[in-house]
Amino acid sequence: MGLVKAQSLTKVFRRPQKGPGLRGSVKHLFQRRFKDVPAVNGIDVSIEAGEAVAYVGPNGAGKSTTIKLLCGILVPTSGSVEVAGVTPHVDRIANARNIGVLFGQRSQLWWDLPVRESLGLLRDMYDLPKGFYQQRIERLDEVLGIGELMPVLARKLSLGQRMRADLAAALLHQPRIVYLDEPTIGLDIAVKDKVRKFLRELRADGTTLMLTTHDLGDIEDVCERIIIIDEGRKIFDGPLAQMKDSFARTRRMHLHITDGTPMDVIAKHLSTADVSGEGSEVTIAFDRFAHTAGQIIAAVLQVAEVGEFHLDEPAIEDVVRKVYAGELLV
């Protein structure tokens, strides 16, 4: 039984087809032509309580649309959604109590109000008891440092401050399910780290987390499961480790050769690995299920002297990039 369930979820947008300019607009008034654009096309998702799921895909793949369907913002064209036993677009308010949402590109803070007022308004909307509210504010101040932001007008916040305040706003009522759409977009490294650390803590508290992002660092830091979608369809769904195993078998070892042994000697010796490089800098790519790094280094040491070396772990970034580029058929 999933906490968040979607079955053959489909959302089709109707876009008017207009010619250019005024003529096109006038013509459209009389000949109404529309094109159906499926943004989400028959997606099945089931997320258990306490899972942290990364939801990734190229721009326009339907990530945000899925999130909005799960939140109850959009009404699905067909298929069904159920979140904690509630159909979001039917029982919007009941669903709203269970979830916390952050759209990284947009703030939910009231633009012309101080942060404190925004949080106070949310407190009223979620009906939070005074003691609980204060306790949450203290907790959110500990992890996000929002205390210093409380008297500041939302429009005067820097991007990083705004994101911290927005996270606090989304999580104020301690929702069981949290959707985050690009939670680290545009942030500098220091703030990103802070946000990720916070998300890990959130996960540790047992919150169910769904995260869309372009920043694969977010995924590796926070999630254990990944769903990849493209053109509105799901193309991968499984543990992050499994995805790495299936699609990121290759590790790379970079070596500095100190005794001038030519590259082709090493290549000949390591027939099952791919050796490339220039001069004394050599890169060896190998299947991490066929060999361990120790085996490779031992083999190289038989024919050459090695000064420095380091190892690249398989990055999901490579995998996802390949998927985006259509190089990888999953």
Binding site: K68, F103, R106, L113, G120, Y126
Partner: protein, 262 residues
């Protein structure tokens, strides 16, 4: 219900406090709002210096009508200003957040702003209304007072519903500005004068299509016991119809919302 009211009050209050930050602006807006009403009154006074009646309406009666219009017109910026931001929210996709919060979307939208010029309207309009009530010829009974208040509330409801409906048109007519609502609102200003000065076409439209006549003309006619004044008693029915229509339009509209900012 109480919770909804509290959210609404709290949201308006927060926006009000933020406006108080700029004290000078606060007064400029209130005074500017009051000025137009003062000028409308000046117009009536200047004209009535030369004529005894406007289409059978005495000076006090005409002032009463205008006062009702100013008070009701001032309610929308004070309590409903946020609805004018709806088309911007829909166009930019910022209606997403109100949709994921456990409170009615309409309440969140309506209370998302406050227009202080409404204070100027209500103060000047209230003064006109108060003065005129002492100078018109009405047989006051407790029943007159009660019905009068009910009709005033109905008039305000009709006015606000029409603003809500025309702004909700943005779910169908895309674009960041509520042009339809602005246009309709400008035409509503014509009801500051007795409806009888206009041609039959305008009278029919303002009665049956967009029932602005029930905001000022019919309820005031009822109070002054003019011919066809009984129509004013239909105010609550018209108000109920307008509220129902506004609700329906909003519900249908929200289902169409496609969060297009992204």
């Amino acid at each position: 219900m109480f919770r909804t009211m509290r959210i609404y009050r709290r949201s308006l209050g927060a926006h009000f406090r933020s406006l108080l930050e700029y004290e000078a602006d606060f007064w400029v807006l209130i005074v500017a709002g009051a000025m137009f009403n003062a000028l409308n009154l000046l117009f009536l006074s200047a004209v009535f210096a030369h004529v005894p009646a406007l289409n059978g309406w005495s000076y006090a009666e005409a002032v009463l009508l205008m006062g009702v219009w100013s008070v009701i017109g001032g309610l929308s910026p004070l309590f409903f200003e946020g609805v004018w931001r709806l088309s911007w929210m829909v166009n930019q996709g910022t209606l997403d957040y109100p949709l994921v919060r456990p409170a009615p979307v309409t309440v969140q939208v309506f209370s998302s702003g406050i227009g202080l010029h409404g204070v100027g309207d209500i103060v000047t309009g209230g003064a006109m209304l108060g003065w005129a009530l002492f100078h018109v010829d009405v047989d006051w009974t407790p029943l007159t007072v009660v019905i009068g208040l009910v009709l005033l509330a109905s008039a305000a409801t009709i006015h606000l519903s029409i603003i809500a409906i025309t702004n909700a048109a943005t779910f169908w007519i895309s674009g960041p500005h509520p042009f339809l609502a602005i246009a309709v609102h400008t035409f509503e200003d014509m009801i500051k004068y007795p409806l009888t000065i206009y041609g039959a076409g305008i009278r029919a439209v303002y009665t049956f299509v967009v029932p602005f006549a029930f905001v000022t003309f019919f309820p005031v006619s009822w109070l002054l016991d003019r011919s066809a004044g009984w129509v004013g008693l239909l105010g609550p029915l018209v108000a109920a119809y307008c509220v129902w229509l506004a609700r329906t339009v909003f519900r249908r509209g929200l289902r169409r919302y496609d969060s297009s900012g992204h």
